[in-house]
């Protein structure tokens, strides 16, 4: 932390850089070039800016998401794989005055937990969901996810995903936007400064919707997984721009707030 290595009195200083107060002073253990760390930080900044550190309860299940409790100095619950929207529902119904968010990968949100994801959205559950889409299962070793692109090679589609065998990349955000329940659904990315700024605004908006009682917000964020994509971090960003966005275009899908 920059403000520890100076002799200037703390009261005279304004923090211009450093970790958000809502985050612990630890190092992320994400792989090089992974976007989870950026997204985590944006969530931390949003919590700080909204002044909700003491009333926020985060939920994160398994895989690359599971260490949320290490990064954040907030209350955190670790649900079973896929059940995050249901667990977040339970917390929110028990503590409607608190701010509850779900942090889920694409396998979690769009495959094993689809039933819970769809119905939380359909109920217009007053929660904020961050859906991290990196087009495969990261922690378990790069297997196909429902979001895997056609032709994409993964450890379970070594010849590339074929629609005939495995269907098509699932478009959860577009699907859920057809429901009457959700308030705000957007797809963002964090690979350059303008997109980081836009993603941050979406995250803040997702929280603000909940605080104002407006209902369900889903912020899908395209994320790089260079290790499992077999690319370097710069190539991974290029892949998002050239290939992933072609299937998963960025921007607000619904905004009924």
């Amino acid at each position: 932390m920059s403000d520890k290595a100076t002799s200037v009195k703390k009261k005279d200083m304004t923090k211009v850089v450093g970790k958000p107060d809502s985050m612990n002073d630890t190092h992320f253990s994400y792989c090089p070039g992974c976007h989870h760390g950026i997204i985590n930080r944006l969530i931390g900044e949003a919590i700080d800016e909204l002044g909700i550190q003491e009333e926020t309860i985060g939920t994160a299940p398994v895989g690359c998401s599971v260490f949320l409790y290490k990064w954040f100095d907030i209350d955190v619950v670790q649900p079973p794989h896929g059940r995050v929207s249901a667990v977040a529902t339970g917390i929110k119904r028990a503590r409607p005055d608190k701010t509850v968010f779900a942090y889920q990968g694409d396998g979690d949100f769009a495959s094993i937990g689809t039933n819970n994801s769809v119905h939380a959205a359909n109920r217009g559950e007053n929660i904020t969901v961050f859906f991290i889409n990196n087009t495969l299962y990261g922690m378990t070793g790069g297997e196909m996810a429902p979001t895997t692109l056609i032709g994409q090679k993964t450890t379970t589609t070594p010849g590339g995903r074929k629609a005939k065998d495995f269907g098509y990349p699932i478009k959860m955000s577009e699907m859920l936007a057809r429901l009457d329940g959700p308030t705000y659904i957007t797809r963002q990315a964090v690979y350059d400064v303008p997109r980081i700024k836009s993603a941050k605004e979406a995250i803040v908006k997702g929280f603000r919707n909940q605080i104002e009682g407006k209902g369900y917000s889903l912020i899908e964020i395209l994320s790089a997984c260079p290790i499992n994509w077999g690319l370097d971090p710069v190539e991974a960003v290029e892949r998002i721009k050239d290939e992933v966005e072609a299937v998963y275009p960025l921007g607000d899908i619904i905004d009924r707030g």
Binding site: I74, D75, Q78, P79, P80, A86, A94
Partner: protein, 351 residues
């Protein structure tokens, strides 16, 4: 205690849960427990801050329970056998994360879809863990409607005291039949224990974490050992059983739940025939009252286990009795309920 009412088992359980301070109830429709859900739909919204939510699935319901329990509120779900199978993942997580919650199983015939008749085929599932991993849930087995109401009430206290899921293991007979019941008093908010570990927002403290996860072997070992220390305390303090007519009986029937109730009729029938038989009834089926049964077995020749399954509790009976005790088994399956006379015929082989 207060007014006496004629209530169906499912409704008595539901109302008793509300009186125990249950604030958040999540479930999915299934026969023969549907009246429980329907009672909650009407009466849970009358509770201040109360939540009734019909979940999208049994899995959704148990995970909503996981969330509400994490947030420190008294919470319950109910279902019947196939639905309880679906909840097992969530129950394992509740146990792993040391969360208090109440799960009601109004058992029906199985396996698979089975039928909607009363059965006791989920004894193994309820008492031996049920989901993955190394855990138990306290499991209470009522044999009447009033007892179902009381044990449901107690289940919330036990769950909070030991930070564990508690199962109320009844069956379709108890769920469906009506009996006079004196419901317990409504608990005040102050009577419910504070939960400083709950995730209620980190106000003036570091963040709390609810998890069943520990990456390192030693860490997970420590979590598991701590849980099993609590189980030892539960075994010391919370075992419950009932003995009826055992003094001077050479044959004692071991039975739980609905079957135990039927055995009480068998005892009367036997008396008319000049036969003396007793009943040993586990009320906690986990922890099983093994020491109590062992003591009893020193005074009898035969412990006949009667169940509505193909022989599940009988394994715990055989582990508990003194060496040399005869331990025959009589079971009815498929949702067929044994009759007092049918059990008596069985007993006569051993007297």
């Amino acid at each position: 205690m207060g007014e006496m009412q004629l209530m169906r088992g499912n409704e008595a359980i539901a109302e008793s849960a509300i009186r125990a301070g249950c604030k958040n109830y999540f479930a999915y429709p299934i026969t023969p427990q549907a009246e429980l859900l329907q009672w909650m739909a009407v009466h849970m919204p009358e509770v201040e801050g109360g939540t009734f939510l019909q979940a999208e699935s049994e899995i959704g319901a148990i995970n909503m329970v996981y969330g509400a329990a994490s947030a420190g509120e008294r919470t319950m779900t109910s279902s019947s056998s196939p639905g309880i199978s679906l909840k097992q993942e969530g129950i394992s997580y509740l146990a792993g994360a040391n969360l208090p919650a109440v799960i009601v199983n109004i058992m029906r015939g199985g396996p698979g879809l089975g039928n909607i008749q009363p059965a006791q085929g989920d004894y193994f599932q309820a008492t031996k863990g049920g989901g993955h991993g190394d855990y138990h849930t306290i499991t209470l087995a009522p044999s009447t409607v009033p007892e179902a109401a009381q044990l449901t009430y107690d289940a919330f206290d036990l769950a909070d005291k030991y930070r564990t899921p508690v199962t109320v293991l009844a069956d379709g007979m108890i769920g469906q039949m009506m009996e006079p019941v004196e419901l317990p008093e409504r608990k005040d908010r102050e009577e419910i224990p504070q939960k400083p570990w709950a995730t209620t927002g980190a106000q003036g403290r570091k963040g709390n974490v609810i998890k069943s996860f520990a990456l390192g072997g030693e860490d997970l070992k420590a979590m598991n050992l701590a849980r099993f220390e609590r189980y030892e305390e539960i075994k010391k303090k919370e075992v419950r059983s009932e003995e009826v007519n055992v003094e001077g009986s050479e044959v004692v029937i071991a039975a739980f739940g609905t079957v135990a109730r039927i055995v009480k009729s068998t005892i009367r029938l036997a008396q008319e025939d000049g036969l003396k038989i007793g009943l040993f009834r586990p009320i906690t089926v986990w922890p099983f009252p093994g020491e109590q049964l062992n003591e009893l077995s020193k005074r009898v020749d035969t412990v006949l286990t009667v169940e509505m399954n193909s022989g599940q509790m009988v394994e715990d009976v055989r582990l508990s009795v003194k060496s040399g005790t005869e331990t025959p088994f009589y079971g009815e399956v498929g949702g067929v309920v044994p009759t007092p006379g049918g059990i008596l015929e069985e007993v006569k082989q051993y007297v």
